[in-house]
């Protein structure tokens, strides 16, 4: 379509909407109300389940995550990550190789203490079987992880490898999705345009019921989602 007919299509659709609604262009009051709803983004009903105190939120997150076939291991601090990962991989008979997000939040992990683990950083490559990333937040309500993309947080690490390990701090766990959005908005300035390219809400490993309605894990995304929950 030419630019002119593209503009025509746009105008026709918008005026079609107005005609159907039996009005002209939206009034200032209408535009104002819509802009207000967007600007102030008031919360709708938030389930009681999402409004617990933090201890209960952490416990709920773990329970819900286990329900959707995540595995969860609690560790005291980032220093414990290399050993936890090495043991996890050994327990599954997986090679001791890891692709890690070049995330500054993960830079304190002392990989050198575990030299048998081969650790490289960057976006996921086809041959990478295991990835390790951080998270932006986690939503206790449904055991959901929130990961956001960025220069140091390639999205492909969340999807290409068969096993995805997420390092999650206790203080990243919030009650409901609205709390997670508020955290994202708080750092909006750090994303060009106000949002990252991708926000992934991840609730358990990949799965499908497309073969005779039987649920199988690991359709296209990771078959395993392992959460290292950091903090006392």
């Amino acid at each position: 379509m030419s630019d002119q007919s593209k503009g025509e299509a746009r105008n026709q659709i918008l005026s079609g909407i107005r005609t159907a609604l039996k009005r002209g262009p939206a009034t200032d009051a209408q535009r104002g109300a819509a802009a207000e709803r967007v600007r102030t983004h008031p919360r709708n009903l938030v389930p009681a389940r999402a409004q617990l105190d933090h201890e209960e939120q952490v416990a709920l997150f773990v329970r819900m995550a286990l329900e959707v076939s995540c595995t969860v291991e609690r560790i005291p601090d980032l220093a414990a990550v290399p050993q936890a990962v090495a043991e996890y991989l050994a327990g599954l008979n997986l090679p001791a190789e890891l692709r890690v997000a070049p995330d500054p939040e993960l830079s304190a992990i002392p990989w050198a203490e575990r030299p048998t683990l081969t650790v490289t950083a960057g976006r996921a490559r086809d041959a990478d079987a295991v990835s390790l990333t951080g998270a932006f937040a986690a939503v206790a309500e449904t055991g959901t992880l929130m990961l956001v993309s960025g220069a140091e947080r390639p999205t492909t690490l969340n999807f290409l490898p068969d096993t995805h390990i997420v390092v999650l701090r206790r203080d990243q766990i919030v009650g409901g999705y609205e709390d997670a959005w508020d955290r994202l908005r708080a750092v909006q300035a750090s994303f060009e345009g106000g949002m990252p390219r991708t926000v992934n809400l991840i609730t358990g490993p990949s799965r499908t019921g497309d073969i005779e309605q039987t649920i199988q894990l690991g359709a296209h995304g990771p078959r395993r989602l392992h959460v290292l929950l950091v903090g006392e």
Partner: protein
């Protein structure tokens, strides 16, 4: 998509006789219904959330132009492009133009009902592109060259043996003696074969469950991860969405999302709910270089301000068809077009015309289960009735039925005549039926008596007996 909706009676007869299909339908049984009920019972606020979901969407529809313009501004601000398309043809042309400009060859696709609506795959193929469905169910039906039979489980009707046959026929480079009996084996093979396609793709097309005005984001709700690989790996990401998918802000999205997975599969939340906003940012090491949103009208705006407006609240969860006894008997293909089940009975006539899709709103007993489970409280039976009103006005119904009902109404509006005629007719029918208690066949009633006996009436009308009682005293 080409429609066979006008052949619904024939389609459904064949569906009832299709043993494979019937086996699959029975196997599924009440699975989806039980899961949805458990999820709804587990969340005490579920009913209130349905009311809120309805209110959000009603508000959006009244202000649809405003929110769409806000969305466009935000998308553009973040380096994306919005394309407004009035018709399926415009959407097809827009998408092929984007693919051509990208020098594309392989085009991967996430699941999208709008893509079915505009029949984009055939169009891409005839323009020299290779479209590859990546959702496992869609991939299966693409190989089998058939349309989806359910809006969230497109290969619902396909048995695992049939999947294996399709894979063997298509994946000829793999060893012929490999086992493909278990779902695990089938999924591993699909994952392997499609992984290569994901990496090869130049353009990835996804649908959108939601568009968000606040942020200019598009949202997909999946479980496999294919939608995410489709939109992250290629250099161009195209989102194809109809205009009514928009919500104002992230909080409104959260409310709708609380309803969606629970209503569709009984999950608390889908494995992957992804918000995509614009192309990759400077410094990102993955993600697409171009982000396009193709906004499609294709008859939606025409429903605004009509008695069908409420159908635009639909969030495509599939709960209605999961609970419909007619869908449960004949499956999705019988409906003959993109949207089956109760939502199809209302939407298909709106999009392809009542003459073509007229059977669909008629093939309902108005049992009301669809409306009872719709997360957005869409009054589906009421709108099916509105379609029947349109057919009545346009005289599209079978003449014999119209005449019969007309005769009935003529008498019913004349009580004295009605009671006199009924008294006589029932005495006659009663005399014929008295001995056996039932009729195995009745003239003009073949539709009934082919499968059922017709019980005999008692032989006198109530009004006749009551009047007699009143005259005789107590």
């Amino acid at each position: 998509m080409h429609s066979t909706a006008h052949s619904f009676p024939e389609n459904s007869r064949r569906a009832l006789e299709n043993e494979r299909l019937q086996y699959m339908l029975r196997k599924s049984g009440t699975g989806f219904q039980d899961k949805r009920r458990r999820a709804a019972e587990r969340l005490p606020e579920f009913e209130d959330l349905r009311d809120q979901g309805k209110a959000i969407k009603n508000h959006v529809l009244e202000n649809l132009d405003v929110y769409l313009e806000m969305f466009e501004a935000k998308v553009t601000e973040q380096g994306g492009h919005v394309h407004w398309c009035r018709t399926a043809a415009e959407a097809r042309d827009t998408i092929t133009e984007i693919c051509r400009n990208a020098g594309a060859k392989t085009v991967t696709k996430g699941k999208s009902m709008i893509a079915e609506e505009i029949a984009i795959n055939d169009h891409l193929e005839s323009n020299g592109f290779i479209p590859i469905e990546t959702d496992l169910g869609e991939y299966i039906i693409q190989l089998r060259k058939e349309p989806p039979s359910h809006i969230i489980a497109p290969a619902f009707h396909v048995s695992k043996e049939e999947v294996a046959d399709a894979f063997r026929a298509a994946h000829t480079e793999l060893p012929k003696d490999r086992p493909l009996d278990e779902p695990r084996e089938l999924i591993t093979e699909a994952r392997l074969m499609l992984r290569r396609r994901f990496q090869e793709a130049d353009v990835g097309i996804t649908g959108a469950n939601l568009l968000i005005a606040e942020t200019g984001s598009t949202v997909i709700v999946t479980n496999e991860g294919n939608g995410d690989l489709t939109q992250t790996l290629p250099k161009v990401h195209v989102v194809l969405a109809s205009i009514e998918k928009i919500v104002p802000n992230l909080e409104d999205a959260a409310t709708v999302l609380r309803l969606l997975a629970r209503s569709a599969t009984g999950q608390e939340f889908s494995a992957y709910t992804t918000f995509s906003t614009g192309p990759h940012r400077p410094g990102d090491v993955d993600g697409p270089a171009e982000f396009h949103v193709v906004l499609l009208d294709n008859g939606r705006s025409a429903l605004l301000g009509t008695e069908f407006q409420e159908v635009l609240r639909c969030i495509r969860c599939g709960a209605c068809m999961n609970h419909c006894p007619v869908y449960g008997a004949v499956g999705g293909h019988a409906y003959g077009w993109v949207y089956p089940g109760p939502i199809g009975a209302v939407l298909d006539p709106a999009l392809i015309g009542i003459k073509e899709a007229g059977h669909l709103p008629n093939a309902s007993t108005f049992c009301g289960r669809c409306e009872a489970v719709c997360p957005m409280r869409i009054p589906l039976p009421k709108m099916m009735r509105h379609w029947r009103e349109k057919e009545f006005e346009q005289k599209l119904q079978p003449p014999a039925m119209r005449r019969g009902l007309g005769v009935w109404a003529w008498f019913a509006r004349r009580p004295a005549l009605y009671h006199a005629a009924a008294k006589m007719a029932i005495r006659t029918l009663g005399r014929f039926g008295r001995g056996k208690g039932r009729f195995a066949s009745l003239p003009l009633a073949d539709g009934w008596t082919r499968f059922r006996d017709m019980p005999a009436p008692e032989g006198r009308t109530f009004q006749d007996l009551w009047a007699e009682k009143q005259r005789g005293g107590r």
